[in-house]
Amino acid sequence: MTRVLIIDDEAPIRLLCRVNLEAEGMEVMEASDGEKGIELARCERPDVILLDVMMPRLDGWDVAQALVGDALTKEIPIAFLTARAEVRDRARGLDIGGVEYVTKPFNPLELAPLIENLLERIRRDGLDLLRGEKLAALRSLVHE
């Protein structure tokens, strides 16, 4: 069973993700701020992390950096889930080490397929290759 950790300070968003992912048979853990999120990630080692950016105290960028820099959690793919839609934010997220960038508002029904697809590709190509591809795609976007 796919285990997903959602880190977001807004309760409705966490609930939204939980009900829709559970409906697809995934196991969902929640953290309402960055510190709790990092703690949970280290203890639970989820398969994937959905990470909000704008949070009090530790923001999403800090959390992602901590996770990528930690041997325990660096292999866990991170998908940013955020209202920050500018290309430069996207670039920053992927630069830090995220592999997916979902802008709010999003269709919660597409969340589970997105996660499955992500995990499938990581199984096939490895996390690093995926990150590389995402960055390359982004660069071509920026340069257009």
């Binding site: 807004e10 409705p12 968003i13 939204l16 105290r57 919660p108 029904l109």
Partner: protein, 934 residues
């Protein structure tokens, strides 16, 4: 040199005896010719430093030594080392005990010891040796005058050599040899022996000659190299001043800079400029002094005799010794006391000449005796010339009347006219005396007044009129003499008056007796009338050959005008025409100048002009204001250096925005440029306009930040609304009623949040437009507080892990105030939301309500992060988001709150201790001011 040698040989041989001379003349001439040619050849070779093996008397090793010397001299760095090398070689090869080199100054009046050598070391007293070549007899003098070597076998017994030199060096026999340079004798070699009286052998002298030639070459090269270097440096300076003369609008600044530079180049303590005619007081215009040097006083200025001399003689006066120079003997120049009192011992002064007239003098003073070199003189003359041009240019824009007179005077080529006309000396004198008065005034009205006055004086007439031609009429512009005062401004048709005839004929009109020549009608002529019996009228014709009017002189008695008088009046009219043209030109130019300057200094845009070399020549007031860089700092430097930004337009784009630093902040400038061309179509420079667009940029940035943050704010509630709607639409019965209700309640509350944001935006729009409406009523503020606190508490409780507690601290009695309930609620919700948002660690949020005199005060207190001092006012600004903001926000809440409270007649402020919390306080009027309606 050769000729004098041969002549002396002839004399020595007794061949000057006329009889013998006659007899052998032809033979001798032939022999002389050959000798001369040989000698010349020899000299040429020696002077070029090349030797022929056939030089008879010189042994081979000596030749080798000379060759060695030649190459050593090429490497010598200064005159002293040249002298040492030559002298040591000399002592060595010719077996002298002592030798010394003396340098002869430019005008041949003095010789000074440079280096003396004996036994391979310097002779210490030798450099202080001074020989007066004009008044004292010496071997050196003789060598200089005869341009030939001079030997003395018995030096102590000879009256022809300097006793001092012989005594100090202890010499018995001596040889003097002139160093003959290209233009003059540059020095003398003196060498001798101390042991015994001796005669010098021809080959020794020949050797000495060669050494002298080598030394001369080296010295001359040294002199020309240093002169060249000095000349170049001064050339550059003159060019720099010349550039400024053509670029600098401020004449005073220019003069100051020129004086300072001149003083530096000449290495003098004082440099100044006087302006005025020769013979006038010529006051000091500006002075540069080295520190500690006392200034020239106004009372001393007329006694500055050297500049007076330069002014009077129209040529540079170079005084090496103020105390003794006979040129200053003439007491009318002002004597020596003033200069000596100022501590000036040597003075150099060049007249400033413009259009053949002396308008002032430039002078340099130094406290030491100094013989001014040709370079010094050429330099000061070049600077004086440039200053003349600068003053001329400045004369057009300066209100310096006296200077203007000079300038006008120069434009009128009266000197030439006076000479050509050969007037009676009295007439000429009168004309010349009046000229200054005529050309001095700057307005045409003054010129015409002066013209009629002078015309009357010149011809000893009784009255004069100046009439100006306007279309077909002559208008009286100036009058002189009894009875004509009221004629001013009267107009006469050209067609029907005697004066009109002048306009047609353009020739002088001479009437000796009106009654006789013109009959009764003549006396009736309105211009003539007034009981005059004779007149001379002349046309006033300018340089462009256009007739501008007529000048008429009247006499009350019948008078036979002399031809000279007619010519004098014609000259005066010509002078007047020039002066009039000049006045008009001056008026136009000064108007244009003033207009340009006024425009340049009043425009809001910075205007900068650079010359062909890219250096700034204009930096207007706006450029100073915008960039904060003073024009004095910018002028003369490249624009890119001043702004610290590359100014070359990329891809030739004319208009662009650049950012520069002004102190701590960034400045955005919109730059446009245009090429300036001179009248010949050549590129003369560029003009840039600079516009400060920083404020626009800031607004742009704020707008873009706003759009970005608003879009973020809108996305948050939309995510929930959209997300839960999609969730509810999932196929299959996945959720129970409780879950559905939760989803729907989220959709509802988030929709409300969305509405709130939109409301806030509308509020801002209304606040900006100034039409925010409040509906004031007397309400119980306490109720609103309770509602807001209650709602905040319940929301907080619904959030898992929220550790805030809420307190409403209100007195029991109702808190009545004039307010708009809905707007007040919005303000309080915002303040309480902020209190929660900025106390992430939880704590108590309290709202305290109290009555104050005439007002109700509400205080919303939190125990959060607090607000830094410098932000406490800024947080009320539109779009401003605190640096301690932990998550998003529109940056509008407090801006709106302040707007709403102000609209309700109240005020809002903040008190805070960083790290301990903040209190937002607001005060609402207790009741409305009673309106007087009786």
């Amino acid at each position: 040199m050769v000729l004098s040698d041969i002549t002396r040989l002839i004399q020595l041989a007794g061949l000057s005896d006329a009889a013998i001379f006659d007899g052998v003349l032809e033979t001798l001439a032939l022999a002389l010719g050959v000798a001369l040619a040989l000698h010349l050849l020899l000299d040429i070779f020696v002077l070029r430093g090349r030797r022929r093996a056939g030089e008879l008397a010189v042994r081979e090793h000596q030749l080798a030594a000379v060759a060695e010397l030649s190459s050593a001299l090429t490497l010598a760095g200064d005159r002293e080392s040249i002298a040492r090398t030559v002298l040591d070689t000399l002592n060595d090869l010719v077996d002298f005990d002592f030798s010394g080199l003396l340098l002869v100054n430019e005008d041949g009046s003095e010789a000074r010891g440079l280096i003396g050598r004996a036994a391979g070391t310097d002779v210490d007293w030798f450099p202080s040796t001074r020989l007066d070549l004009e008044n004292e007899m010496s071997g050196v003098r003789r060598a200089v005058e005869t341009r030939a070597l001079f030997t003395v076998e018995d030096a102590p017994g000879s009256p022809e050599v300097s006793a001092e030199l012989v005594e100090r060096a202890g010499l018995k026999s001596l040889v003097f040899f002139p160093l003959e340079g290209e233009r003059r004798i540059v020095g003398v070699l003196a060498a001798g022996s101390t042991g015994e009286f001796r005669a010098f052998r021809p080959e020794q002298l020949s050797l000495m000659r060669m050494l002298a030639a080598e030394g001369t070459l080296a010295l001359e090269r040294m002199e020309s190299v240093s002169a060249l270097e000095r000349g170049l440096e001064r050339e550059r300076l003159v060019a720099e001043i010349s550039r400024r003369v053509r670029a600098e609008l401020d004449i005073d600044r220019l003069i100051d800079a020129a004086l300072a530079e001149t003083a530096k180049a000449l290495d003098v303590e004082r440099c100044f400029i006087r302006l005025g005619n020769p013979g006038s007081a010529a006051p000091l215009r500006a002075e540069w002094r080295r520190e500690g040097i006392k200034p020239i006083t106004a009372s001393a200025t007329p006694f500055l005799s050297v500049s007076n001399l330069a002014l009077r003689e129209r040529k540079t006066a170079a005084i090496a010794d103020v105390e003794n120079d006979p040129q200053l003997d003439d007491d009318s120049l002002g004597g020596r006391e003033a200069l000596l009192e100022l501590g000036s011992r040597a003075v150099l002064s060049a007249p400033i000449i413009l259009f053949e007239s002396v308008i002032g003098a430039l002078a340099a003073h130094t406290s030491a005796l100094r013989r001014w070199s040709n370079d010094d003189i050429a330099f000061i003359e070049a600077i004086a010339r440039e200053l003349g041009i600068a003053l001329h240019t400045a004369g057009l824009i300066e209100e310096n009347k006296r200077q203007l007179e000079e300038q006008n005077a120069l434009l009128v080529a009266t000197e030439a006219m006076t000479n050509e006309l050969e007037l009676d000396s009295v007439l000429a004198l009168k004309l010349a005396g009046g000229r200054a008065e005529l050309v001095g005034p700057s307005s045409s009205k003054q010129v015409m007044k002066a013209a009629v006055h002078q015309a009357t004086q010149l011809l000893e007439g009784d009255a004069a009129l100046m009439l100006e031609l306007e279309a077909n009429e002559l208008v009286v512009r100036a009058s002189e003499g009894e009875g004509l005062e009221e004629m001013y401004a009267r107009r006469f048709p050209v067609a029907v008056s005697l004066a009109g005839d002048l306009v047609h004929s353009r020739e002088p009109l001479v009437i000796e007796d009106l009654a006789r020549d013109e009959g009764p009608l003549g006396a009736l002529d309105p211009v003539v009338g007034h009981g005059f019996k004779a007149l001379i009228g002349v046309p006033v014709i300018g340089l462009d050959d256009a007739l501008s009017g007529v000048l008429i002189v009247y006499s009350r008695r019948v008078r036979a005008w002399r031809l000279k008088e007619i010519e004098a009046l014609v000259t005066l009219a010509a002078n007047s025409a020039s002066a009039l043209a000049n006045a008009a030109l001056y008026l136009r130019v000064s108007l244009e100048r003033e207009q340009s300057l006024a425009i340049l200094s009043s425009v809001a845009d910075g205007i900068v002009a650079v010359d062909r070399a890219g250096r700034i020549v204009l930096w207007n007031a706006a450029a100073e204001r915008i960039t904060g860089i003073a024009s004095s700092e910018a002028l003369g430097r490249p624009l890119s250096e001043v702004l610290r930004h590359e100014m070359e337009a990329p891809d030739g784009v004319g208009e662009r925005a650049i950012s520069i630093r002004r102190g701590e902040r960034e400045l955005w400038l919109e730059v446009a440029e245009a090429v300036m061309r001179d009248p010949g179509g050549q590129i003369a420079g560029k003009i840039y306009t600079l516009r400060d667009v920083s404020a626009d940029r800031f607004v742009e940035q704020a707008k873009s930040d706003f759009v970005s943050s608003i879009s973020h704010e809108l996305r948050a509630p939309l995510t929930s609304i959209y997300g839960f709607a999609e969730t509810l639409l999932r196929r299959g019965e996945l959720f129970d009623d409780v879950q559905r209700r939760t989803f729907l309640s989220y959709i509802a509350s988030e929709s409300e949040r969305l509405t709130g944001i939109v409301d806030a935006l509308l509020d801002v729009a209304e606040l900006d437009a100034g039409d925010l409406q409040v509906e004031l009523a007397t309400i119980d503020v306490g109720n609103v507080v309770r509602e807001v606190v209650e709602s905040a508490r319940s929301e907080s409780e619904s959030v898992q892990g929220d550790e805030h507690s809420f307190v409403a601290d209100l007195s029991d009695e109702p808190l009545s105030a004039e307010a708009d309930r809905d707007k007040l609620r919005r303000v309080l919700v915002n303040l309480v939301d902020n209190a929660v948002k900025f106390s992430p660690g939880g704590g108590t949020v309290s709202v305290v309500g109290q009555k104050r005199s005439g007002a109700v005060e509400l205080r919303v207190r939190d125990e959060g992060v607090g607000i830094p001092e410098e932000e406490r006012e800024r947080i009320f600004r539109k779009f401003y988001r605190s640096s301690s903001a932990l998550s998003g926000g529109t940056g509008l809440g407090l801006f709106i709150s302040r707007g709403l409270v102000t609209a309700m007649g109240g005020r809002i402020w903040v008190e805070s201790v960083e790290g301990e919390g903040s209190t937002f306080a607001l005060e609402l009027p207790f009741e409305r001011e009673p309106v007087a309606e009786e």
